[in-house]
């Protein structure tokens, strides 16, 4: 059924709109799906869900384009791609970065769909065993894992993550209804959005730190073979794509902003195991291949609980579920048996959709790369304008734009003092889930923190976190000993 021309047509519309939506900062897949949802009322359930799902995973492809070319994360999950993707572009490898991103996304998306088909039921059952203490422990482990994997200081990474968590507490306390740190500004009652923070830190902060005189005026005219990755670059991308696919899919099953978290973890993992960690931040292929694969695999994995159990893993999936319900198809354990045409049609369309996205994005690489031929002095005002419009359009709030400006200044300062801003964004993303899980856990245990040690899965996760911290501490101590030993050598020579 998915190969019928009509269904393919709607899959194509979804993929195209999703790619465009992903490219534009401030207009995420949630807005795109919500805007197009009413248009699906006249369609049958299969076509509707195929089109809307196409927007979702299409946006993961599109978000990487602006990340690589303009260092503006088009979509929150593309934040990590900004770092090395844009660095590759500045080295004249924009086409290669875009290709690797597209192919990595395709491979990961296809892998995710195959896994979705094979392992959806048992994996979804395991994810159901996660209660609030397990979520809390998982998020703690995720943050510590990220900090451990970072080759920069673990303490600095955790400091930035805690800052992000603190910023995430601004707004209405969902449990008590009190306003926190809103300073009587009504817009702050909803909290600080991810888009103004990410665009400010990565987009505006970079512009503030880059006067046009520092950017080469040479107009790069890439030849066709320069648009494609070299053999070495493909080789460097292969394993990160594989690892990112697996990591992303596993994390995608767990409710929360999994596609964002998965890209952070993938980046940290690749940087940690790389033989050339110093390349990260300067155009490392693995820094693009891994996160882009992870976020695509995670966005596919997010469908597992929705299809198998009827549980939304995030707001976008929730809207997709609403679309199914509107069409009289309740997602959940009975979906496969009662509406097999919808379930299998949806699965099959994802295979086709991934091919469509690859076909859409690869030929357009040359078109996108031409954006870089615009002199930087004319390019960055365009970027600033798009940032202002994109951030404003999220909530029609000028306060968000002011937040973006403040974050731009912060991003500039962090760059100067060599703090990594990415953990701040991660902390902001997981803050609501983390706080809710923590407080629910303490409510369950009447305030006893021992609950985290009394549940096996939570205990295992926290033990792993403690192990990572211990490993990091041992590493830091041994480095200090080396430093002192080296310092003692001149003294020893002098004594002799």
């Amino acid at each position: 059924m998915a190969l019928q021309p009509e269904v393919l047509w709607y899959a194509f519309i979804g993929c195209l709109v999703g790619t465009l939506v992903g490219m534009l900062p401030g207009i995420g897949p949630l807005a795109g799906i919500s805007i197009l949802l009413p248009l699906t009322f006249g369609l049958d359930a299969t076509k509707a869900i195929v089109m809307l799902a196409g927007i979702y995973y299409g946006s993961q492809y599109g978000g990487s384009t602006t990340s690589i070319l303009l260092r503006i994360p088009g979509e929150a999950a593309s934040v990590m791609t900004c770092i090395d993707g844009n660095a590759m572009a500045r080295k004249g490898r924009a086409g290669a970065a875009l290709c690797i991103s597209a192919v990595g996304s395709f491979v990961a998306g296809t892998f995710g769909v195959v896994m979705l088909t094979l392992v959806a039921p048992p994996l979804a059952v395991f994810a159901l065993r996660f209660g609030p203490p397990e979520y809390t422990a998982l998020l703690v482990m995720g943050l510590i894992f990220l900090a451990y994997m970072s080759t920069s200081s673990l303490v600095r990474t955790l400091l930035m993550a805690c800052l992000g968590l603190l910023v995430g507490t601004i707004g209405i306390d969902v449990m008590t209804g009190h306003f926190r740190f809103s300073f009587d500004i009504a817009e702050l009652g909803d909290g600080i959005g991810i888009v103004p923070v990410a665009v400010g830190l990565f987009g505006l902060g970079e512009i503030l730190a880059t006067p046009s005189r520092r950017v080469t005026a040479e107009v790069i005219r890439p030849r066709l073979r320069e648009l494609l990755p070299s053999r070495d670059e493909w080789r460097a991308a292969a394993w990160p794509i594989g690892r990112g696919s697996v990591l992303g899919f596993v994390i995608g099953i767990i409710p929360g902003s999994a596609h964002i978290i998965s890209s952070f973890l993938s980046y940290a993992l690749e940087r940690r195991i790389s033989r050339t960690p110093g390349e990260f931040g300067k155009g490392a292929v693995a820094g693009v291949a891994g996160p882009e694969s992870a976020n695509n695999a995670a966005s596919t994995g997010a469908f597992v609980p929705m299809l198998a159990l009827g549980i939304p893993t995030g707001p976008v999936i929730a809207v997709l579920m609403a679309a199914l319900l509107i069409h009289g198809v309740p997602p959940g354990p009975t979906l496969v048996s009662d509406h097999p045409n919808v379930f299998w049609g949806f699965i099959a369309s994802m295979y086709v959709g991934n091919l469509m996205l690859l076909a859409l994005n690869l030929p357009l690489v040359g078109v996108f790369v031409n954006l870089l031929r615009i002199p930087y002095a004319y390019l960055y005002p365009l970027i600033i304008m798009f940032c202002v419009i994109g951030v404003y359009e999220v909530n029609n709030s000028i306060v968000d734009v002011w937040i973006m400006l403040i974050m731009g200044v912060l991003g500039y300062a962090l760059k100067k003092f060599r703090f990594d801003p990415a953990p701040l964004v991660l902390g902001l993303v997981i803050a609501p889930i983390f706080e809710m899980s923590l407080r629910q856990s303490l409510i369950m245990s009447d305030g006893a923190w021992m609950i985290f040690l009394q549940r096996p899965i939570a205990l295992t996760l926290l033990a792993a976190s403690a192990g990572l911290l211990a490993l990091s501490a041992i590493g830091a101590i041994s480095r200090r000993k080396d430093w002192r030993a080296k310092l003692a050598q001149p003294e020893a020579v002098e004594k002799l």
Binding site: L24, S153, R156, C162, P381, V388, I389, W402, L405
Partner: protein, 110 residues
């Protein structure tokens, strides 16, 4: 609880950063040569944001891009004017017409 917990952890981690400060390069090694550019870009962008609602999307954004090109980049005034007007009109078409995002009208009727 959460804000206190995070603030407490931040103080602990900040203390570790301070303790390890001796291993870091000195503050004087930080390059601030771009601070003038950063301040000017920030000021102009803030001006554009302040003018966004009163003047509207078309006027405020065109003035923002024009000011950046002329005051920061010292480009030719005519070229800057043409570029800023063209860019703003393109953005108006993309966001206002194609994506149907509501844009601030300000002084204009559209």
């Amino acid at each position: 609880m959460m804000p206190k917990l995070m603030a407490g952890l931040m103080m602990v981690f900040a203390a570790f950063v301070v303790i390890g400060a001796a291993d870091s390069p000195p503050l004087s090694s930080v390059d601030w040569s771009d601070r003038g550019h950063a301040a000017l870009v920030l000021l102009i962008t803030a001006g554009g944001v302040l003018a966004y609602r009163p003047l509207g999307f078309l006027i405020a954004m065109a003035l923002l891009v024009f000011a950046l090109l002329v005051l920061v980049e010292r480009r030719n005034v005519l070229i800057a004017a043409g570029y800023s007007i063209g860019l703003t009109l393109f953005a108006y078409w993309l966001f206002g017409k194609a994506l149907k995002s509501p844009l601030e009208r300000g002084l204009l009727w559209f």
